[in-house]
Amino acid sequence: MIVRILNEGQWRLTDEAVRGLNSFDDAVEQAVTAADQDQLTRALHALLDRIRTSGTPVPDEELADSDLILPAADSTLDEVHQLLSESEEGLIPG
């Protein structure tokens, strides 16, 4: 499974490693729901650290689609909301 961390690049994770990430996902979602910036930063840092240590970086010259896309570690609540708002145009330059 390939995971992209926005602003950082892509990592390849084994299925087993991915299973270990589920609890982190919940923590991030809770922080976004609660609009708690500190909690979001902590949860994202924990999640991304785990991915960086358990995954292997996808080489720059490899063109691969990611299965998951994660916000950057220093993302603000606003930025995460913006990522989630589908009305936002121009995210992908065609």
């Binding site: 926005l6 602003n7 991030v28 979602e29």
Partner: protein, 296 residues
């Protein structure tokens, strides 16, 4: 993994699909897409340059503020040497204001540096992906089966579109941050220009410098007078009073207040503002010389 990350991924994918749908004949539009990638790459490089410019501007301002802080420290030292605690206090108060600005600038500098590194890395990554896309593009053009070409085109497009989306976001973010920094840097420039932080190039003299110079030139005059009187005293008409004046420097405590002036006020290059001018002294009745040592 589900939840918000799945949603974010779906959004990216939806946008890629939308981009692909626009392409009626993908094979012919490969070149067009490649052009768009090169444009984005240019934009990223300009972004890196912009952030670097901002960072350098902050470094320049920090240098100016540092110079200013050092100058104020020196001024405080000099003011204390001539026993002007009020001037020393004023100089140190100004310095603490400047140090606040400095620590704020250091935080901004670290942020910009981080942004610059991320963007540089993104630029390298995109460059590698664009190169990979170009290679794929040529391979696809050589493919005979339309169905096979379509599959490969989809792969290439979605891989590069995702990267372009990511880099596009990074650029947007860097532009926003740079704009914020520019606004703050402009505020500091205005502050420097208004004289509130003084002019670090030293072309204009601040009030503390002026007053210190005035004190120093007063004592220069005193020293000169004492020297002349000492020369006279070794001559045939030497007066005991003048000899006394010659010995005065070593006997006078340097902190005596206020300094007695035996000569008209200095008229060197300084144009002291009225409100900071030293109180006039009765030079006529004063003892001939009371030099206070070299103040410079």
């Amino acid at each position: 993994m589900s939840g918000i990350f799945q949603r974010i991924s779906l959004i990216f994918r939806a946008k890629t699909d939308k981009a692909l749908d626009k392409l009626e004949d993908p094979r012919q539009t490969l070149d067009y897409s490649y052009q768009r990638q090169l444009e984005l790459l240019q934009k990223v490089r300009r972004g890196v340059a912009d952030v670097a410019t901002s960072r350098k501007r902050i470094e320049l301002q920090a240098n100016q503020l540092n110079t200013q802080a050092d100058k104020l420290t020196n001024q405080a030292q000099k003011a204390l040497e001539v026993g002007r605690e009020d001037l020393a206090r004023e100089a140190l108060t100004r310095r603490s204001g400047i140090q606040q600005q400095l620590s704020d600038l250091q935080v901004q500098h670290a942020q910009l540096q981080g942004e610059e590194e991320k963007l540089t890395r993104a630029s390298q990554r995109l460059q590698a992906k664009v190169d990979a896309f170009r290679t794929k593009k040529e391979t696809i053009k050589a493919t005979y089966s339309a169905a096979e070409a379509q599959t490969r085109i989809n792969e290439a497009f979605s891989g590069i579109s995702e990267e372009m989306g990511d880099v596009g976001l990074a650029i947007q973010r860097a532009e926003d941050k740079t704009a914020q920094m520019q606004a703050r840097a402009g505020a500091i420039d205005e502050l420097l220009a208004s004289g509130a932080l003084d002019d670090p190039t030293g072309t204009a003299k601040d009030d503390i410098t002026l007053e210190l110079e005035q004190l120093a030139s007063t004592s220069d005059v005193e020293n000169e007078l004492a020297r002349m009187k000492a020369e006279l005293s070794v001559g045939p008409s030497a007066a005991p009073q003048a000899i006394e004046g010659q010995q005065a420097p070593s006997q006078q405590p340097p902190s005596q207040q206020p300094p007695t002036q035996a000569a008209p006020p200095p008229s060197l290059d300084a144009q002291p503002p009225q409100e900071y001018q030293a109180p006039p002294t009765q030079s006529q009745e004063a003892p001939p010389a009371q030099p206070q040592g070299d103040l410079r």
